[in-house]
């Protein structure tokens, strides 16, 4: 890996994502944790930019940080009573840490060439070592729009997703609204 602007940017975004991510799961103050979540999501959106997916990066900021992040902050404020917690963790904190670390080791060893013998197959190893195909178009939005409305593309999941959003909205209203007494 050479030292270029791209690698520097990658490390900045990756460290933002992971560092804030760790704060999300360890910070004692729930409100602070939610702000760290926003930072972490921002880091992910930076990674999307580096991966030449500008549309998804924008959606990440709008939907994830804008909608979901704000929704979470709303929920924290609406349930203000437990913002300050006596106990952050349940009784399985140590077991959870062990599970997470073991899972990470398993993923890292199998998915990345850290240990020589355990890599992807030959075909993929070659690709993993090489640079990605250079001629990626930046106009993926066009293509994305066409594919999700194409009868021979992803139109069915697209339509079902709209039903899902409707049902989720109605469900959320039914579950959360005050009784009209």
């Amino acid at each position: 890996m050479e030292f270029t602007y791209e690698t520097v940017a990658f490390f900045i975004f990756a460290l933002t994502t992971l560092g804030s991510g760790i704060m999300v799961v360890t910070d004692e103050n729930l409100f602070h944790a939610s702000l760290y979540l926003l930072f972490s999501l921002f880091g992910v959106s930076g990674l999307f930019v580096l991966l030449v997916a500008p549309f998804l990066a924008a959606v990440q900021v709008l939907v994830y940080m804008g909608a979901i992040g704000i929704l979470i902050i709303f929920a924290i404020m609406l349930t203000r009573g437990m913002m300050k917690m006596d106990q952050v963790y349940n009784s399985q904190r140590v077991a959870a840490a062990v599970v997470a670390v073991l899972l990470f080791i398993a993923l890292a060893v199998t998915l990345t060439p850290i240990v020589d013998e355990l890599e992807f197959g030959e075909d993929l190893n070659a690709e993993l070592a090489e640079d990605p195909v250079a001629d990626v178009t930046y106009e993926t939005v066009n293509e994305l729009g066409k594919v999700i409305t194409d009868r021979n593309g992803f139109v069915l999941p697209f339509e079902v997703a709209s039903l899902l959003l409707t049902a989720a909205m109605i469900g959320a209203i039914v579950v959360a609204r005050e009784d009209e007494a």
Partner: protein
């Protein structure tokens, strides 16, 4: 891969879902424009339309012959008899759920309840046919998110809200694992389509990848699906959610979600990690990995489910553990699909789910009637039910006999075919474990029957009223359970066998 682009074939492939979406919109409109006292009719309306849809689905033509004819809408869905049989049973489950929900005052006047049931049904029915990772994911979440809202539907009941939250947190956690596994599968092959020469299955079978990353992806996906079908050790949410949710909702979760998850598990394992005979010129046979994995899951699931069920005091918790055990039996059929020739494995699971849906809804319907009259869900309070309301006790007995696998109820034939599929697949030990477990299970089912007909009760002279609409629904369901175990057994098994065979095209 060439897909079927014929407009008519594409329309028929999603016609049931289109009909469901229309029914859902009508239900919403009716709910909005009808008076409070008439709202209950919305439930009848939804229920009867769903039943009609279940009947109509049987006659929807599927493209026959080749895989490329059956893959429709850009390969999102595979329209075969396997999809059709699971769709039919899911619609029946949804219809019966609408009918048995009407006794619950907290839900019957709410059109939203029926809408959420219908959207969950759309998700479940697409899940049965989904043949693309994106479609599997979206359908799975359409089903699950509607169910989370349904579990927490009764918002002034703390137990319902809590079980909804628990179901949500654990369900989404499981989704995270499934999804991570999906992203790896996409990474290994660059495809989201599970069928076809350039689909995930055939590419993995070509053996160009090392085993370790594929095993990681497979484990992640099995963990995710394991949560959904409540296989041990991913079952711990089941008793709490079943006990806390409104009973009609419990009935729906226990059948619709489970049937759809088994459908996708069968299709997914067979297509993505194909056994040798399904992969042309295969270099790698990953079914050698997942068949032992699923077999072990099956044995521990049925054993833990049955043993813990023995000590339960609450009838809903008992049925929760019993449903864990039933999932264990059905997993035997999943383990058998890779090695049986004629698709008996898939056929036996399809038949088993058909009988399980009818039986479980019948059991939960009886519990609703009983709990409405007495306010109790404790097994001991069922004492002398036979003298307090003979019909209710009879219906409950039929349900329990079917769950226990005693003829003439359908459960006997269901279990018989599962065990036979396991034996045919040379999984003899698995079949033996299944038989031993059925014997343990018989004990706690028979104890309830004994309590109902033999044990004395201080309230012996108090009748338990059964509303006329319940009498009809439960009577019809009991009749269906018995018919499925006798005269209807052969036609349905033939249908299931054809469905199983089509998975191997």
């Amino acid at each position: 891969m060439v897909f079927n682009t014929d407009v008519t074939a594409n329309f028929w492939a999603v016609a049931p879902e289109i009909a469901l979406a229309i029914i859902g919109l009508i239900v919403l409109g009716l709910d909005l424009y009808s008076r409070e006292s008439q709202r209950r009719d919305v439930g009848y309306f939804a229920g009867f339309l769903l039943l009609a849809l279940a009947a109509a689905t049987v006659f929807v033509p599927t493209p026959d012959g080749s895989l490329s004819e059956q893959l429709v809408l850009g390969g999102m869905l595979r329209h075969d008899q396997f999809t059709q049989i699971f769709r039919t049973m899911i619609y029946i489950a949804a219809a019966l759920t609408c009918f048995i929900a009407m006794g619950d005052n907290r839900m019957r006047y709410k059109g939203e309840f029926y809408l959420l049931v219908i959207v969950a049904t759309i998700g479940a029915s697409l899940l049965a046919g989904a043949s693309d990772l994106v479609m599997v994911f979206v359908a799975l979440e359409t089903l699950s998110i509607s169910l989370y809202a349904l579990a927490g539907f009764v918002r002034d009941d703390a137990r319902s809200a809590e079980s909804g939250l628990k179901y949500f947190l654990i369900g989404s956690f499981a989704t995270g694992f499934t999804l991570y596994g999906f992203s790896l599968l996409y990474g290994f092959t660059g495809a989201t389509q599970i069928y076809g020469p350039d689909g995930i299955g055939q590419q993995l079978a070509a053996g160009k990848l090392n085993d370790a990353p594929i095993i990681v992806a497979m484990m992640m996906i099995v963990v995710g699906f394991g949560f959904k079908i409540s296989a041990v050790p991913f079952h711990f949410w089941t008793p709490d959610v079943y006990e806390g949710s409104p009973t009609a909702m419990t009935a729906f979760v226990s059948v619709a979600s489970k049937a759809a998850s088994f459908a996708v598990l069968l299709r997914f394992m067979l297509a993505v990690f194909p056994p040798e005979k399904l992969a042309v010129g295969a270099a790698a046979d990953y079914s050698e990995l997942w068949v032992p994995l699923i077999s072990v899951l099956a044995v521990i699931t049925m054993t833990i489910g049955n043993v813990v069920a023995l000590v339960q005091k609450n009838i809903k918790r008992l049925l929760a553990y019993s449903s864990i055990a039933q999932a264990g039996y059905a997993l035997m059929g999943v383990a058998a699909i890779a090695t049986t020739d004629g698709g008996q494995g898939a056929a036996s699971v399809a038949f088993y789910m058909f009988m399980y849906i009818l039986t479980n809804i019948l059991a939960f319907g009886c519990i609703i009637v009983f709990a409405n009259a007495t306010g109790s869900e404790t097994i001991a309070d069922f004492a002398s039910l036979g003298r307090r309301n003979l019909w209710l006790a009879m219906f409950m007995t039929i349900a329990l006999l079917s769950l226990g696998g005693i003829p003439p109820a359908a459960g006997f034939i269901g279990k018989f075919y599962l065990f036979r599929a396991a034996v045919d697949a040379d999984l003899i030990l698995l079949a033996v474990a299944g038989v031993l477990n059925s014997i343990i299970a018989l004990y706690y089912y028979l104890v309830i029957i004994k309590v109902m007909f033999v044990d004395p009760s201080p309230d012996e002279d108090k009748d338990i009223p059964m509303p006329a609409n319940y009498a009809w629904v439960l009577g019809a369901a009991s009749l269906a359970v018995v018919l499925l175990g006798t005269v209807l057994a052969n036609p349905v098994i033939d249908w299931a066998t054809q469905a199983g065979l089509e998975l191997f095209i």
